[in-house]
Symmetry: C2
Subunit: 200 residues, 2 copies
């Protein structure tokens, strides 16, 4: 790397700090960026700056947004009786992609993980309780944290906090993925798929 002119070495160094981008990939990307025309390269640089400057977190639900409250929270056509609790803004995007769920969200920005030193107060959970206080519209909270240990722990903890309010709490279903193969499904998932069986 020392053989590259400074601005190139700097660009490679910056790119290799991205997750999953190693030294070789960073070099390849840097050379590609240099070979792009000025307009395209500056457009990419501006996109980074603009995203960083213009994006903020919704003061209501915690989702990533360029306006506060976010598009979902300020959309009067959404069903305000249901709040879906997710770990990240990407989960919101995934659920929105289905175009089926019409309720609101609450983004935790993480999950409780004692192993990583992440406790209940390190995620955006208290604000959900505050949000529910004095709000008599909400009738159901769907906890859609990830189906792993941290997500489950977070779901249990959140349920414990919400329960006194009397609001219905549900958890997304776990089971065999659609298009999946029973034979290749891990035991825990299969066990949950059988426990969670439904009448047809």
């Amino acid at each position: 790397m020392n053989n590259y002119p400074k601005p190139l070495a700097k660009l490679i160094a910056e790119l290799s700090r991205l997750p999953g981008i190693g030294g070789k990939t960073a070099q390849r990307l840097a050379f590609h960026i240099i070979s792009m025309n000025d307009e395209d390269a500056f457009s990419m640089a501006n996109a980074i700056t603009a995203a960083k400057k213009e994006l903020t977190y919704c003061s209501v639900c915690g989702n990533l947004t360029d306006s506060d409250p976010c598009a979902v929270c300020s959309d009067n056509s959404r069903d305000r009786t249901v709040i879906c609790v997710v770990e990240t803004p990407r989960d919101v995007a995934a659920i929105e992609r289905m175009r089926e769920y019409r309720g609101l969200y609450h983004v935790l920005h993480g999950a409780i993980s004692p192993m990583d030193g992440v406790g209940p107060d390190d995620i955006n959970l208290r604000s959900l309780i505050v949000r529910l206080q004095g709000n008599d519209e909400v009738v159901e909270i769907i906890v859609a944290t990830n189906p792993n240990i941290e997500g489950e722990a977070t779901a249990m903890y959140a349920a414990g906090l919400i329960r006194p309010s009397g609001i219905k709490i549900s958890r997304i279903a776990h089971g065999v993925p659609v298009g999946g193969d029973l034979d290749y499904t891990d035991d825990e998932t299969l066990s949950r798929a059988i426990t969670g069986r439904r009448d047809i």
Copy 2:
């Protein structure tokens, strides 16, 4: 993607234009960039802009540089009797990494490839001939284009242009890579390794 706020969608779109970066990876990178602190994100954006603004091609050898002539061409301690002809600035960096070669370079920025419509005049080859005219220092040209069809064709064509000047022309050796396995070496490479055998 339509569910993301505009600045985020724009950043994802820009990142997914990079080679080898698909939609999912672009999303992951974009979310990472947003989660970086302002200073780091702006530093990355600036690195792109700076690399694009400050880097140029050496008017002598064609290598990527932030000063013209480049560091190699203007280094008086380099051996000016040898010029190594390579396809890309990355090849220069690879050879410089060895810290063995002390001569000069000439970067072609590509290889002759009739299939892709790249002819001799589409690469930085004529400038090598101009560079050799009236230069009586150079005694050898090492053609280090890639060991593939395009690289070979380019090497042959360049040799044809240089030969009338009487300068010695050599080609980097092809053979079994060090640490490689004879059994897994392709026929063409093995054949060249045998043809190019040396006394020990």
